[in-house]
């Protein structure tokens, strides 16, 4: 059982299927795929390298652009990004760019390539708070540019939601560790079990470092009022964290009601099924045509026989009994379950960090900077709109430019 949780749900490509998939690529002029990645990945170039037997070159193209290329390959909702405009759709269906990228990054790992290099020391020191994808990718970029980087993380392991959110069958700790080790190899100094605001204050960091970057994400699951202090209720992110930390050794209930329909909801639904729940029903606010979850995640949940009921909002909850009504139609739904899981979004948890918030984001200028201070903010909690892993990488790349500028680089 736990074994299934730890195994890749999607087996990925082998060398033959890789070549087949790459040879489906039309090698387009002005390839649309290369314009759709928030992090600026150039799929057309690395697919061409695969096509012309240059796997090492393909790995360079991916890694030099994105320090978390091997992770994005696995978790990106590619249908919303690179695969969206693929011109192969004029013939049949888009190139499976994610799977090609995944093969290439695995090859990079297997052949022990060392693509990224530490930059020449520029005598500038930067602190990053939070080790999710935004903090990690910025750390890599800064190190490549010669900065000295100290990364602070309140949990005992690095990775943020990559470590404690996304289930192992989609992103294993092994893959994550490999990607993190590439950053540590560049000279990253990291401090786990260190909470900023508690163990060290933000002001201390501000005085000691040339710049401080806050990348603390949306670490708390949202709870609607009607579900507060109910022992049957747990937030999806807490539950997923529990499952991942225990490598899937978690007892699950027979009948579980999940409320919400984004990626997090699909993750908890599929995880529950994999771990042995008999009935998992997701009741979702959106109707199917406007679903938020990525195609792949929805497919995974469907394959695992998750019941999906779309278009309903909860109106009342008493113990383990929830009443819903349809958003448009005069329908009502009553559900009783052994457990209720809330997957209705995440929100920030500043702890004792003193920062001004505005519409769920830390208030900064367009350049991710808090006023004129030496504090920058990136990732989910920042003004960056793409609340995804690749969106985090994008915010890190943009912030790198502004931090460089602020510290007199370029």
């Amino acid at each position: 059982m736990e074994c299934k949780y730890l195994n890749d749900l999607d087996a990925g490509l082998n060398f033959k299927t890789l070549k087949l998939e790459a040879s489906r690529c039309l090698l387009c002029l002005d390839a649309p795929c290369s314009k759709e990645c928030p992090a600026g990945t150039d799929p057309a170039k690395f697919i061409r390298s695969v096509r012309f037997d240059n796997l090492k070159g393909a790995a360079e193209t991916i890694r030099e652009n994105n320090p978390l290329g091997g992770i994005c390959a696995r978790v990106c909702p590619t249908e919303k990004y690179c695969q969206k405009g693929c011109l192969r759709c004029g013939i049949d269906k888009p190139i499976d760019i994610g799977s090609i990228q995944r093969y290439v990054c695995d090859f990079e790992q297997k052949t022990n390539m060392k693509i990224l290099k530490k930059g020449v020391d520029n005598n500038k020191r930067i602190a990053i708070v939070g080790s999710g994808p935004s903090g990690l990718s910025l750390a890599s970029l800064l190190l490549q540019h010669g900065y000295s980087v100290d990364l602070y993380e309140k949990n005992d392991k690095l990775g943020g939601y990559l470590r404690y959110g996304i289930p192992s069958y989609r992103l294993s700790n092994e893959v994550l560790d490999n990607e993190i080790n590439k950053i540590i190899d560049l000279g990253l100094k990291y401090h786990t079990n260190t909470e900023i605001g508690k163990d060290i204050t933000l002001n201390e960091l501000k005085t000691y470092f040339d710049a401080v970057v806050v990348a603390i994400g949306y670490s708390k699951g949202k709870v609607l009022d009607m579900f507060k202090d109910n022992p049957y209720v747990e937030s999806a992110v807490d539950f997923l964290k529990r499952i991942k930390e225990n490598d899937g050794h978690v007892l699950v209930d027979d009948n579980v009601l999940v409320i919400g329909g984004g990626d997090v909801s699909m993750d908890i639904c599929t995880s529950l099924k994999i771990l042995g729940s008999t009935n998992v029903s997701a009741v979702v606010y959106e109707e199917l045509f406007e679903f938020k979850a990525s195609k792949k995640e929805l497919e995974d949940a469907r394959k695992h026989n998750v019941t999906i009921i779309d278009g309903y909002v909860p109106t009342a909850c008493k113990d383990n009994h929830v009443t819903f009504k349809h958003r448009r139609l005069p329908y009502q739904l009553e559900m009783t379950a052994d457990k209720i899981v809330l997957a209705v979004g995440q929100t920030y948890d500043l702890g004792n960090i003193d920062l001004e918030m505005e519409r769920g984001q830390v208030k900064t200028k367009y350049n991710y900077q808090v006023g004129d201070s030496n504090v920058f903010v990136i990732g989910d909690i920042s003004i960056n709109k793409e609340k995804t892993v690749v969106g985090s990488v994008k915010s890190a790349k943009e912030a790198l430019y502004y931090i460089n500028k602020y510290l007199g680089g370029f």
């Binding site: 033959k16 170039k45 061409r48 390298s49 012309f52 037997d53 240059n54 070159g57």
Partner: protein, 415 residues
């Protein structure tokens, strides 16, 4: 990104990398060559320039391609002759290119129709600023028998024309060979005797690519008719490699410098040509199909290869495989190596069985219940046809059997 010096010297001229456009429409004019240089080619062999008196009149359409299953462009057929543009225009383009790209190598390909025109063309392209001359002795579809591969199969004529070119120019010069001949060495030696400094090989192979089975005519169709003409692309790589090996193996040509041509698409193809003795590489068909951009992966892949092999200078790779290609009668025939089937990888398709039965020695057995193949070593001759057809590469080299009354030290065999 990996960064290695890919420079190499060829006929005394330094190329920043070995990749060149071969003489053909891919290097037809100034704009094309400029773009190719900018994308990263080390050199350009400009489209063959002919004598002013020879009027080029082309057919339409002029190409065809050979497909197999879902792979297009296995081979490519063309009916094109030499440069269509007027001589003056070509010379002006050469001049402009050399002016703008002094560090890139510019090679002029020329073709005369008698000693006088060869000598004259050599002089003109030298004046225009070319770094090197390539003599096109090999186009198989010229409309004059005094030109092209009809000349390239005649050693005496080749020698005479080489001498003429050398009278017209002191530039380093290579003679471009036709593969439409049994023994290329004889012609190559005649060219060197006539003053050629190196050899370019190969030009296109005479062919009929496809026949329209409803109109009873070869392709492409030109007013109901077609002609035999030159075949190029991936399909001719084996033919090119064979001729290059034979030249490098000939005592009189042993260290001849060669520019390799024929079906180059990937860095692996390039390395194969280099290992058999080519020190520069020229390409046409792959560029017509995919564009100049493929040179990026050729260069990068070659750099990674050098890095992996611990080689810092490209010239150290030239000809490394020549000594390992020997006459068939000298091969070790004392052993059989049996196929070894990895049953975990095998998906039970039965292709190995079909090919062994219908195309080899009926040694492969197939259990229809378990859907697993089994090699009967009593019958197996170790030809490895099964391994070549297996769609999942489940078959590799396994147990070795020494033939009766032969002595082999199995441990020292290099399989």
């Amino acid at each position: 990104m990996v960064n290695k010096d890919l420079s190499i010297e060829f006929l005394g001229v330094k190329f920043e990398n070995p990749f060149c456009l071969s003489s053909s429409p891919v290097g037809n004019c100034y704009e094309m060559c400029k773009k190719a240089y900018e994308v990263g080619f080390g050199g350009v062999v400009f489209k063959t320039i002919g004598p002013k008196s020879y009027y080029i009149d082309e057919v339409s359409p002029r190409f065809d391609k050979l497909d197999k299953e879902d792979t297009p462009f296995i081979g490519f057929k063309n009916m094109e002759q030499i440069a269509e543009h007027p001589l003056e225009e070509n010379l002006a383009d050469l001049r402009k290119l050399k002016d703008e790209f002094p560090n890139k190598v510019l090679i002029a390909s020329i073709m005369g129709n008698d000693e006088k025109t060869w000598e004259e063309l050599a002089r003109l392209v030298t004046e225009a600023g070319a770094d090197m001359i390539e003599m096109n002795l090999s186009c198989p579809q010229m409309t004059s028998h005094a030109m092209g591969s009809d000349v390239g199969t005649n050693p005496e004529l080749c020698k005479k024309y080489c001498q003429a070119v050398k009278r017209g120019s002191k530039l380093p010069m290579m003679a471009k060979m036709t593969p439409n001949i049994t023994d290329m060495c004889e012609v190559a030696i005649a060219c060197l005797d006539g003053g050629a400094d190196g050899i370019a090989a190969i030009n296109t192979v005479k062919s009929i690519c496809n026949v329209d089975i409803n109109k009873y005519v070869g392709m492409p169709i030109i007013d109901g008719k077609s002609s035999i003409s030159g075949y190029s692309g991936k399909a001719i790589k084996p033919i090119a490699l064979r001729f290059i090996q034979q030249m490098r193996d000939n005592p009189k040509l042993k260290n001849v410098e060669i520019s390799g041509i024929g079906g180059i698409e990937t860095w692996v193809d390039a390395v194969e040509f280099i290992l058999l003795g080519a020190s520069t590489l020229q390409m046409t068909t792959s560029l017509m199909q995919y564009g100049y951009r493929i040179v990026e992966d050729l260069k990068n892949g070659l750099m990674h290869y050098m890095e992996d092999k611990g080689v810092d200078s490209l010239k150290d790779l030239v000809g490394l495989a020549n000594k390992n290609i020997i006459p068939a009668e000298n091969l070790n025939r004392d052993y059989i190596v049996y196929p070894q089937i990895d049953l975990d990888t095998c998906i039970g398709c039965g292709r190995c069985y079909i090919s062994c039965f219908d195309g080899a020695h009926q040694a492969m057995e197939f259990n229809k219940e378990t859907r697993k193949p089994f090699c009967n070593e009593e019958k197996c001759v170790g030809c490895h046809l099964c391994a070549l057809v297996c769609p999942v590469d489940a078959i590799s080299k396994g147990k070795i059997k020494v033939k009766p009354n032969r002595k082999v030290d199995i441990k020292n065999l290099s399989l």
